[in-house]
Amino acid sequence: MELTKQEQAMLDGKEGYAVRKSMEILVALGEIFGAKNLIDVGSVQVAGVSYHNLGDAGLEFLNSLAEDGRVKVLTTLNPAGMDLENWQQLGIEPEFAEKQNLVIDAFQRMGILVSCTCTPYLIGNLPIYGEHLAWSESSAVTFANSVLGAKTNREGGPSALAAAFVGKTPCYGLHLEENRMADIHVKVNAELGKLSDWGALGYAIGKKAENKIPYITNIKNAQLDELKSFCASSVTYGAKPLFYIKGITPGAELQKQPDQIVTIEQADLKNAYDNINDDVSDIDFVCVGCPHCSIKEIQEIAELLMGKKVKEGTELWVATSRTVKQLSDKRGYTVTIEAAGGKFACDTCMAVAPLKGRFKALATTSAKGCFYSRQNLMKTKMGSMKECINAAVSGKWN
């Protein structure tokens, strides 16, 4: 890989330990993936924030970087293992909270905005069309590439941090135009109604377009929350973190329709639901907000919960970013949801919180949420916001 004089100086340690380590990582990855050079990134989104995944080894490494490492570009974090303020109410152990706070402190010292969310684009880390990024979280990477038309690979935690300290990333993969061409045509003949249908669609496309870039046709319209859900699902279930929807996402008009074609029929969506849904009727955990809820979704939850109570023995979590929660506070949605017995889970989510063994059966709007909750040994049900809130109120899935 060719380095500029300034990059070589960083590799030689002229800017200290964190920058030298970062350059070593970026150069090694660049060599492995055949990059010719480094390119500037507009922003970074770092995964590997939950102490549950990092452990003491990860914490130690972050502390060593925090000694002299300061980020050069706008950098935000993925969800942590707990709500950073409200962790006690969510049943997190104090020992875990103490370690999680040490992780956050290390990131804080690096100059990172310690807003922990998988929807950075909803809270001020909003890339523009064509901008190069180093983002980690798979649904956010997919959203940035597909809905916004920015360019990023799926970075691991350390490689994203390295990009933040250097302000650059090796130019390979989805940074290059020739690797962003759609290679499978997906015609959607199924009707898309409720929000979870988009999760089911992502499942179906993920399986049929495994490791491919889909060019999706025959979808008439789409809303932000639907695309947010679809991004999370398609990449979780196997597609590359980039797709085009004709008439809806940017750059679709520049694509040549691929010759290979698959169709998605109503039966494919039903099959997705059948695979995601377990045979269970008693629900003890309802979690919405994977990816993190938008203010519009929180409004819908508040309206559905008005004058109702969450069933005793069932927990309802609304996962969102702290910034969106502040909007919810102002609109009065928070009061309504909490009065009904619902709990806010800011800065965290069901995929990264230490939930193994705590709950038996989950109801959610999210196909991705079901995937990760099964690893936490829960049975899963996926449905609309209304079906999920009904489950929270009745303790049953109907």
Binding site: I32, L54, S159
Partner: protein, 127 residues
């Protein structure tokens, strides 16, 4: 025998080879406190990789594996060097942050467990 590869993390070291034809998951697959391979059904299950020149095709599994290597280095249970058929992201990042010499892109079938191996920059010498 002298084999030339590609440097992932530079170093000079001598040691005893421990060889497997199976990829290794450091996160969950190796005990960072002892260096013993835990993965069920793995060729190296029950063996310690501590202070060995570990020869394996590549890493697999969770990206947290990079941090596991770092923890092993701190614990004194890490391999002394890594030789891969083709290093991927998890091992590359792990080797760099832990400062464990690592080379790849050489014929790993030439190595046998117990061989005395010297690594010097991009070259592995079996004696």
């Amino acid at each position: 025998m002298e084999l030339k590869g590609r440097i992932i993390y530079k170093g000079k070291i001598q040691g005893q080879a421990l060889v497997t034809s199976m990829p290794i998951s450091f996160y969950g697959g190796v005990d960072p406190n002892t260096g013993i391979v835990l993965e069920k059904g793995h060729e190296l299950q029950g063996q310690s990789i501590k202070d060995k020149i570990l020869v394996f095709p590549q890493g697999k599994g969770s990206t947290v594996g990079s941090y596991t290597l770092y923890r092993m280095k701190k614990n004194g249970t890490a391999p002394s060097a890594l030789i891969n058929k083709e290093t991927e992201t998890i091992i590359a990042v792990g080797a760099i942050i832990s400062e464990i010499p690592c080379i790849d892109k050489l014929d790993i079938t030439k190595f046998k467990t117990g061989d005395k191996v010297t690594i010097e920059n991009d070259t592995a010498i079996i004696t």
